[in-house]
Symmetry: C2
Subunit: 420 residues, 2 copies
């Protein structure tokens, strides 16, 4: 065990140094070279499809988990094509480094600019789906960052085959292969080395289940951009347009139940619940949804099963909806502040003043008026791609695309000024 830990520590020091040098080269190379590498990597993914599928076969042969997990692990020609197209789409995005974030001139004539800068070396720790590695590599390269990837042990061979294709793309564009590295083994010691990697890694991004994210947050000695749970609410206000509320809630809950932007709790005003709640329940039940309802909701729709104390704190990620009747926006906001996860929460109302106050007082990464909570997504925001949804309060919040993987620096141009 100690030997493995020593090996992992040595690996991280060497990988980190190579990544640091690669990051500097990426920053200097310019957007055209980075985009060329992404397009070449897409071509290499397509060209090496057979090899990637064979590696994935080997992973699947050794796999003994659930069918759902197996489906997430499995690659198909279509999934490889989607990965390749994803890299090409990232290449087509505007350069996140080619912006001036702010500029001003001081009374003494100093001209100050705040400009974007890559964060440096990203450590990405993820589970199961092999395409997450390709997406993460693409977004990191686009924003000038080097990345060290550590996927789940069950996808080790797939991750290596994908990384080889990306390395081929980097080589074709004249960029260092160490821009995208993969942990060389499946031992947990490699994760531990990454989490302890202050100086080698600038930011850890965990992407996976709650257990993974909490373990990373508890152990990391470097900054973490966590993608934690999404306990999202849709609040149907008394002045909601009923047809819109029905359409939006059905989408927010049932379009896909397993994503973090799916609505987990319906809050509905007492004033509109008697007429609208039965319709909402019927719509959702027809789509296969089940319910956990408070006493006031059950007084209106007696067939609803009762909620227990923990239900309103549960991220279902399933076709289950917690239901609560509230008395107006303040009660809805208080419930969200107490039970929510600061991810995405929506209000449905025709009353603009109520909506604006709700949006002003809501302290979530994304607040939505009259639309589905499932819009919390980098693609839907127009970021082109996302590496996750950040749920912390520092650095980035919400969908994390290439822009969110940059930091900034200041450039000051003078004419010999000295400080008094």
């Amino acid at each position: 065990m100690t030997i493995v830990h020593d090996q992992a520590g040595t690996w991280l020091r060497e990988a980190g140094a190579a990544a640091r040098a690669a990051a500097a080269a990426l920053a200097r190379a310019g957007a055209a070279a980075r985009d060329a590498a992404l397009r070449a990597a897409a071509a290499a993914l397509r060209a090496n499809r057979a090899g990637i599928l064979a590696a994935n076969e080997a992973d699947l042969a050794g796999f003994s988990g659930t069918d759902a997990f197996r489906d997430r692990l499995a690659l198909t020609p279509e999934r490889i094509e989607a990965m390749a197209r994803g890299l090409e789409e990232i290449a087509a995005l505007p350069d996140p480094l080619a912006r001036v974030l702010a500029e001003w001139t001081r009374p003494n004539g100093l001209r100050i600019q705040r400009i974007p800068q890559p964060i440096g070396v990203i450590g990405m720790i993820y589970e199961s789906r092999p395409n997450v590695g390709a997406d993460a590599a693409g977004i990191c390269l686009k924003s000038g960052n080097a990345v060290i990837l550590r996927g789940g042990s069950e996808s080790f061979a797939s991750a290596g085959a994908i990384q080889a294709a990306i390395a081929a793309g980097l080589a074709e564009a004249g960029l260092p292969a160490s821009s995208v590295q993969v942990a060389p083994g499946t031992d947990r010691a490699y994760v531990a080395a990454m989490l302890a990697g202050a100086g080698a890694i600038d930011l850890i991004i965990p992407r996976g289940g709650r257990g993974l994210v909490e373990r990373v947050q508890a152990e990391a000695r470097v900054p973490v951009l966590a993608h934690a749970e999404g306990l999202c609410h849709t609040y149907v206000h008394a002045a909601a347009e009923p047809a819109m509320a029905r359409r939006v809630l059905a989408n927010a809950k049932m379009r896909r139940t397993g994503i973090c932007g799916a609505t987990e709790t319906l809050l509905i005003d007492a004033a509109i619940a008697p007429s609208l709640l039965p319709l909402l329940v019927a719509d959702l039940a027809a789509l296969g949804c089940t319910f956990r309802a408070d006493a006031r909701a059950r007084a209106i729709v007696p067939s609803l099963p009762p909620a227990d104390a923990a239900d309103f704190d549960t991220e279902w990620l399933d076709a289950i909806l917690s239901v609560k009747v509230v008395d107006g926006p303040d009660a809805a906001l208080a419930h969200i502040a107490r039970h929510g996860s600061e991810h995405t929460d929506a209000i449905i109302t025709e009353d603009a003043a109520v909506a604006e106050r709700f949006l002003a007082d809501l302290d979530s990464a994304v607040g939505i008026w009259n639309a589905s909570t499932q819009f919390c997504d980098g693609g839907e925001f127009g970021f082109g791609a996302e590496i996750g949804i950040a749920t912390g309060r520092v650095h980035a919040r919400g969908p994390v695309g290439p822009e969110q993987l940059t930091t900034f620096r200041y450039v000051v141009r003078g004419s010999g000024q000295i400080r008094p």
Copy 2:
């Protein structure tokens, strides 16, 4: 010991919950109320001058450290007035929350805004100078954050007296006193509780010597905005205007030697060193500076003492300058990348193309062309006030003023959109 730790943990949970509620109240109260609290706190500092000085006397009576440390600990009527004026100046700054950071409309009609949001609850851990507590409280309140302060044990009474004045200001503006709290004892267990305070504290800001900052970074289980060392370079390029180089370097090194933006290392091109280095050395020596020089510099000015291997990695914070002769901008950038601290580095040159390439390739929080490194300061940047200079790569870099103590969130306004 365990009892103290349990007490500290209980305190942090209660203080954190009160701070969380206060932060919500601060955000809702609006800028006018927050600014009124700052002005009322300034008035209370002046009104309670005698009590603050008496508390400071008690701290000084129990103090047995160096004279320099004693001077930093000591309050005077002038220093209290400066604290009060500082709060008034912060009150006069624009509201950092009243901005729209970005806005765009998606093809489906969703209107998306990115707007500032307070971070929430800041934990500030600082050493010795009691005014740091007042400044930090002011900047946190300005940006809508609650703050929990933990100053050095030697300034415990002073910190309590200052906090009482701020609490009076908060009360006068109708804002919760728990917006600004002070750890209730000097035991190290209170620091440990803050560093372990995930959920209660959103961001820890350590401000003090290298030992304090490193301890905080090693132990914290919450994000840290570290103010670490400033190993700043001034690079005098071959095309420097000699008189400007002399004036700027003297200021960058000797204006104040103990601040993090002071230049610690002079890099000078071999092409200009024979004529200019003797003049630079003579100027600085006349101001009391001593030197640690590499062999090439000593070949030009033989009286310079030799540098040893560690000198170029040393943040002197004193009237000492490391001196190295280099062969052009690439060599200067390579030296800075290896020995610098990504804080502030300057180039002196009349060649704009060289300057722009230096600024483009430099990966420091602040890059400066033809001005003193000592301009790295929130006041000099026009931020009005600063809580420190961030040296990490995530969230904020460089001077941290009220704007940098905000995070952001998204507001999405729709008309019933559902996600395909």
